[in-house]
Symmetry: C2
Subunit: 231 residues, 2 copies
């Protein structure tokens, strides 16, 4: 397994890029990381992901794969050590179901809350809380995720939901919103603590102090686009 | 493999339900089909899919699985005969990538076009055509899908994209829109022909004559909701 054969096109602050890095680290796969400038996309990115023109893109032996959850499956199927998905088909289905739910109902909605205002913003905040309530009950109180036992390992669903631990607080700060009240979501809060202290995760997070400025800039750009479209 | 152990909660006209039926038929798995009334959801549905309250739900040995693409993976992992996904991890990644693309950029956008009006509708139509152009080039001209050879089998990506063959023409008719011009998309048109003549598919399609009335009713409901929200 030579380091040269695996490349990752990323963006330091992207939660969906970071989840690919976590998966590669869990597997012990060495890779070359190539930082992209999303305001001035490289020819390499446009060539490797012509459909979405977005990071992450994983390149393995010259073959490019896009979409972070698709990449996680690829990584798990290609490097068998330290499996990310459970072995049982039903448990695999649950992990995939909740990963998709977390992307669509939490991550996307939280970002929308950050990029909106007034009544629309409030609606997104409520939707996001409702989705997190479901994850609190069905995921974070369960056995699908990194547990307290020594033998418990980080897996696909931890990695997919991992952005909650480090990005959601930034969105809350930048958007002056509160979504994740630890008193309301104790199981989620306990998982966040376990996740952030995991050896693979704690050294592989974007610098917290640089994130608010970036998130503020990006969310304002989206908000301004929306205001323009409404005119 | 007893027929009693597999149940499918569905809706006759739903393309995402039908894809689960196709997968089960390809595998030769017998199942009990339970029709749902989406205007009056059964307690069974609410109990089995409390998160989304939507069909399809596959129940296998009492365990419920929701989300059609997640179900396809489950079916493929549980019944190994006639594999739906390719064996090679990279080919699997491509199939998953395009299945997701087809759901988000074609199916969802075509439905949005049907449930909108004026400039918004035109924007959706253009977006849908652009997405289909990409699929024409990258999917339907390629080897990812049911080919002309006798040995070519129907797989995950055919099943995921299959709604294009029988539902999209109904959306076009009901919405008075044209998206899929066979002259512009010859490879797509040829695949549609092969798909609709496949032994598993041709006897497992909703009755074409009943679909427009249903689609008209549903799309008008969504359109009216949007008009109300705008007031």
């Amino acid at each position: 397994m030579e380091s040269k054969e695996v490349k990752l096109l990323g963006l330091w602050v992207s939660p969906v890029v970071r989840r690919v890095e976590w998966a590669l680290k869990v597997k012990g796969v060495e890779y070359e990381y190539i930082e992209e400038d999303i305001y001035n996309k490289s020819n390499l990115l446009l060539e490797l992901n012509p459909v979405h023109k977005k990071v992450p893109v994983l390149v393995h032996d010259g073959k490019a794969i896009a979409e972070s959850l698709v990449i996680l499956e690829y990584v798990d199927e290609t490097w068998k050590q330290n499996p990310l998905l459970p072995q049982d088909p039903y448990q695999r289905a649950l992990a995939r179901f909740w990963a998709k739910f977390c992307d669509q109902q939490v991550l996307r909605i939280a970002w929308n809350a950050l990029c909106s205002e007034g009544e629309e913003k409030q609606t997104y905040i409520e939707q996001c809380k409702e989705a997190l309530e479901k994850m609190e009950e069905e995921v974070f109180k369960g056995k699908q995720i990194l547990g307290e036992d020594e033998g418990s390992n980080i897996g696909y669903l931890d990695i997919a939901a991992g952005w909650i631990t480090h990005w959601l607080p930034v969105y809350e700060e930048v958007g002056s919103i509160q979504i994740l009240d630890p008193l309301q979501f104790p199981a989620t809060a306990a998982w966040i603590n376990r996740f952030l202290n995991h050896s693979v995760i704690k050294d592989n997070l974007p610098p917290r102090d640089k994130m608010p400025a970036y998130c503020h800039k990006r969310s304002q750009e989206f908000l301004n686009e929306k205001r323009e479209a409404r005119k």
